[in-house]
Symmetry: C2
Subunit: 331 residues, 2 copies
Amino acid sequence: MKIHILVASLMIAGTSLAIASGGEPIQPIQAAKVTNPALVELGKKLYFDPRLSKSGFISCNSCHNLSMGGTDNIPTSIGDKWQQGPINAPTVLNSSLNVAQFWDGRAADLQAQAGGPIANPGEMGFSHTLAVGVLQSIPGYVAEFKKAFGSEQVDIEKVTKAIAAFEETLVTPNSRFDKYLKGNKKAITKDELAGYQLFKDSGCVACHNGPAVGGNSFQKMGVVAAYSANSPAEGRSAVTGKDADRFNFKVPTLRNVEMTYPYFHDGAANTLAEAVNTMARIQLGKTFTAEENAKVVAFLKTLTGDQPNFKLPILPPSSDSTPRPTPFEKK
Amino acid sequence: MKIHILVASLMIAGTSLAIASGGEPIQPIQAAKVTNPALVELGKKLYFDPRLSKSGFISCNSCHNLSMGGTDNIPTSIGDKWQQGPINAPTVLNSSLNVAQFWDGRAADLQAQAGGPIANPGEMGFSHTLAVGVLQSIPGYVAEFKKAFGSEQVDIEKVTKAIAAFEETLVTPNSRFDKYLKGNKKAITKDELAGYQLFKDSGCVACHNGPAVGGNSFQKMGVVAAYSANSPAEGRSAVTGKDADRFNFKVPTLRNVEMTYPYFHDGAANTLAEAVNTMARIQLGKTFTAEENAKVVAFLKTLTGDQPNFKLPILPPSSDSTPRPTPFEKK
């Protein structure tokens, strides 16, 4: 009876998966369940559509490129008129598992996030009103909004809801490590397993845990030693206003980390080897030997799962009344 | 016997298709035949890979976007550091049917074209040597070059050959108009058919003919009345050095023309209605009524065929030794 209650409490506390995975701090990624296919299809098109930007050149996929681990693989992103972004574009893959969105968690969920870059003058440089106006003028989109929402009326709530619904499908199950967790002990090599053991024993799992191996908490960048960032970003304090939250950033997921270089919120670490050593030094006060570092890196590379698997979307053409992009307009 | 010789001569002269289609000036698009799938798959990845640019941000697909009719749908393209291009990006769809590549035909074929933008300082801003160095450092690519070419050695010849092989697959058969040409008389409406009749009777077919409804000759922009272009491009004379070739441009294909706005080499015409009226006026000395214009436009919209139909490629990640992009480097 006592055990039964204990298990029930643990499940309520959200650690049921830990039990299911034999107490491991990392749990397998679950495949996404699509409940509204029309909404997801619409969201996919919107995700790839550069007409949501002022220039007609930048889409969600420009900086969260699904051919490249859901990132742009450059330290900070390129925005409207080639403006340099202040922070590294986090991967969209498995982002539905994040505790909140953006490095500082200023968006509660994917829908709240999706509207940000569209209207950010340094990113897509557009406005919600203008983006909605463009979509409303495109008959192919109007038909899809009707199908997904039962109404031909486009608004930013629907636009961001559709994008979020698509993004929720971007999980990456079936990594070799997940196969290992599910019982296939041959799915990873001896060195990779040794790397996982080091990852646990060294304390990396204190922050990088759960199905996304991160993404579920905010932590200070530089716990043991200070981190000198290439970015002006101050992290969580920008949201909470609390000085104690300075340099607290959302812990990034390590899923597909082999593909999401460069690393850290300022994109300063070009390689996994460098990122692992920096993290060990500034977060754990630890120095890995070259051999240990290689094993941890080998383990991290087992976290690459099934990448997005869908046909390139074909976007509905603009109509004669669709406002045209203004990529070279002087302010 | 005489008839037999005549038919044989006509076939030699390349007009056999005209006979096969009942003498129509436009012939159906044929589906592509893939002889080397590994080469096409490699080319598809390269086509989508922004690491062929200095910034790591611009790929072939940035300006010849296969979600948008193989174009970027802006008057002139955005290049490295947001440079404004001098000319409208022509569609890559059905470009294998072109007599030559670029508006001025300065590249003999798709392979010769593919190397141009990579090394153009105003486009991808890279160099062939640097692009090859990046690819050679990526194990996933090296394996694919080995599979496609039998050797792990990457060079620009192989890179452009693979991109061209992929581009050759980008034909768009099965448009409603092709179905009509093949005998399904219900595939187009009465108005669309009337538009086709106008298109033939007015002389549009003098230049816009063949399977691509264009793409097979160079013609002067402004035969009857001068065209005042928004572009400094002088056309074919830049290649031949002959003054007689000034403002001669490759006739663009009208396949998928509903998707390839804006129109003309300077991208000055936003709508098909405007493009049709301008062409009639400056090329044919003709003025369409609003009703005639609408019929021609309706016909042109029947030329949209099967769009690219493949899965979004997943690109092999860079290795620790891969040179990193330099999007914000000062010259």
